[in-house]
Amino acid sequence: MEELSYVGKSVTRKDGPTKVTGRAEYTVDVSLPGMLHGKVLRSPHPHARILSIDTTSAERLRGVKAVVTAKDSLKIRHGFVDTPRYPADQYPIAVDKVCHVGEEIAGVAAIDEATAEEALSLIKVEYELLPAVFTPEEAMKLDAPEIHPSHPKVQEPYKNIGGLTRTGWGDVDKAFNEAYLVREDRFVTHLRTHAYMEPQAIVASYDYSGKLDVWVSSMGTFLKRAKLANSLGLPFGNVRVHKTYVGGAFGGKVDLFSHEYIASLLSIKSHSPVRIVYSREEVFKGARHAQPLILELKTGVARDGTILAQQVRAINDSGAYRGSGVVVIFLAWGFLMVPYRIPNLKYEGYSVYTNNLVRCPQRGHGAPAMRFAVESQFDMIANELNLDPAEMRLRNARRPGEILPNEDSVKNFGLARCIEEVARRTNFVEKYKKAEEERSSVSTIKRGIGIGTCAYFGGSLVYPNSSSVIVKLTDDGSVLLITGAVDMGQGAETVLSQIVAEEMSVPVEDIQVYAADTETTCIDIGSWISGLTWVTGNAAKKAAENAMKKLLQVAAEELDTDPSELVARNKEILVRRAPDRKISYKEAIAASIAKKRGDSIIGEGHFRTMKDEPTHPSLATTKGRWSENYSSYAQVAEVEVDTETGAMKIIKVTTAHDCGFPFNPMLVEGQIDGQVSMGQGHALYEEVLSDEGAVINPSFLEYRIPCALDMVETDYIDVITEEYKKGTHYDTKEVGEGYVAGTIAATANALYNATGVRLDQTPFYPHRILERLEQIKNKER
């Protein structure tokens, strides 16, 4: 293998100096001349018909420049999913009914926030209250209030069904009959949230030429453009979404949100720039949070712990509209079936409308819930059969080259190696046995160890499906890299620079990145679906190759040889066998301009995954290819539990990970650390609490996220399954989402190992642990 100079190295962030000096401009920092401040009027009711809206007094208030309601809109529905089976179901501004507390009814733009706030209080809305329902299982009952009609293709006698995924293979009943042990368990996961530091924010500026300029905190500017243009009835080209730095997203800034639509509408009506920035309270009360799931698992195994069959029912509370509910019931199936072999499976997932806030993806999008359930039950089975939990996982882990039932290959799947290595590094078996022995000791501080695994997909086919990248060589051989990628902190711009540096033999410092702007850059898959490095990365590689081909052609003519005889090194092109015959990039570019009728050197590259597949798999049946790069990992958590207070601490998390080819090990570690921390918060104390659909802990005082004192020690083991060889594409896999899942699962199992407490519900609050400890004690008496 040729020596790599830039990829595979812990290059420091391209945007680091800008960020560390406070100069990075986030959406909240954008200020335009004449900018107005927008505020949103929200429903105080979970379910109500809107009888009338009177905005007269608000419009008359001095300083108010525009008021908008549904009558100013085109009444075009939008949705996270918009397919023939699942057409868009949400108006960006409520038309005749509201379905959750906080639903957007009107918007006001005024000269300052206080005036806008005052104007909101002057809008009179008449409601007719409707009965509401707040849990999916209640909402499914036939006597529940109807929020939206059940999906026409769902024949089961349920109400409020937004979507159904049903799939499987083999004969589960036969396999359960033959199984040595069959367990049936039910797990419930809670409502958690992203807690991105930068709140939801947008500045929209419409001018008389018919153009809408937008700055918005997002995970992908091209998706925002498409959805804004569609819902406003503007040509795509008239909507320009600019680049801003993004203060964290974690899944919570994908899709179009009503306040973004309202800011745009206010700007169109007032012909002034309009800024809407959420308060933290508004983020909690009005933005979308993650997906809670109820999971019923029936698993049959052989005497040695080999899985024979699983039957799984997932119920998702999608909130007032579909949001990503019909995606999460599909994905939950994926996170169930990838890591371990399941010869017989029956899966059904229901997405159910309730009068709660709309849900959206969050880091893992279904994986944290599914892996918590599967991995917990796995340990319960291992305990019943007296098997080593790591060994039992190893027995079931898919091996490299296995073909999944959807015909995807897991290719160089490193899960088995991850399990082996993480168990070895942590002395898992020894510590596990020791903790079991010490469970009955007098000490009130118990230590425990637990393992969890997950596997993930990357870069699947979802709009805009592909990425394009352009590289331009400047006169002196430095490079402009033009990409639609949004760097929300994960390091996209740095990694893309490393790729171009490698392919063009130009130092990373000589590359300037122009990113994310929909007017001046190219379409990009976006910073979700865990595929930016894979999809945009390979587009960048192709663009670099394309430019180099042109440059080498000129150099060959100048050096009087064939391009195949040439090699590029640090902005110079040399004849391989006679390295003193060389030409600098600067000279070659000048020669191209002089002799090729002015051709400057520009390279273009395009990439999409699974290029022979027409589209994404069916959300309803799971048929169709899903991904061509599956990552995997095994994580071990070591915890300490105080049996007097029920308080649990995660001391250390060790991660063995297969992310394919790691482009930037320092960035990979950063992703893992962040997910361990998020997993810790979700496992132990973070929960969005609601009463009748209204969030009751809408601040960081009441929704606690981990602080520096809660820092978990982390350790990593690289299981590198893909090497990069020049000329082949880069095989990278996900590294930014699923580790939340592994951490929660490992923590649940470590809690059991330490105390004998098995919780079937997240988060693992001290009072829940104490209650179970009490039950265990009573049983022993």
């Binding site: 420091t12 100096p17 986030y26 960081f700």
Partner: protein, 162 residues
């Protein structure tokens, strides 16, 4: 709601004196961001718990969202924009870069200033002391591991001294 009349105040920010006419109910954060265009300090929680609005007041870290601008006249205010001077980044900033302590960067200015106040007072803090000092600055991206490491590396003089 009738507004109170503005007052003329003098703030010393990053060694520069500014005369500002402002309402007495405005926070230091608002004045820094809206009047002086110093936008490194951010708002994120509205409750004074997250630390993204941290600036230094006579060298001590404070939450600029909880202070009124009129209260801090005559005191030396340092914002992230005043930390580096000349061609080089401040050693703490360099350490954040070198150790991968930055992801989305939204909390970074507040983190760096909190670290500066700590290191000015305690040039060689233990990891525990670093964690305690940072406990009022939230970061959702990094899990804090690399931030603590970065600050530790400055104190140990590995990044060219403090």
């Amino acid at each position: 709601m009738k507004k109170k009349s503005k007052r003329l105040i003098t703030l010393i920010v990053n060694d520069v004196e500014y005369e500002i006419a402002t309402y007495p109910n405005r926070t230091l954060l608002e004045v820094l961001r809206d009047d002086l265009s110093l936008k490194g300090a951010k708002e994120a929680c509205d409750d004074g718990v997250c630390g993204t609005c941290t600036v230094l007041l006579d060298g001590k870290p404070v939450r600029s969202c909880l202070l009124l601008a009129v209260e801090v006249q005559g005191k030396a205010i340092t914002t992230i924009e005043g930390l580096s001077s000349g061609e080089r980044l401040h050693p703490i900033q360099q350490a954040f870069l070198d150790n991968g302590a930055i992801q989305c960067g939204y909390c970074t200015p507040g983190m760096v200033l909190t670290a500066k106040a700590l290191l000015d007072e305690k040039p060689n803090p233990t990891d525990d002391e670093i964690q305690i000092a940072l406990s009022g600055n939230f970061c959702r991206c990094t899990g804090y591991n690399k931030i603590v490491k970065a600050i530790g590396s400055v104190s140990a003089g590995k990044e060219g001294g403090h």
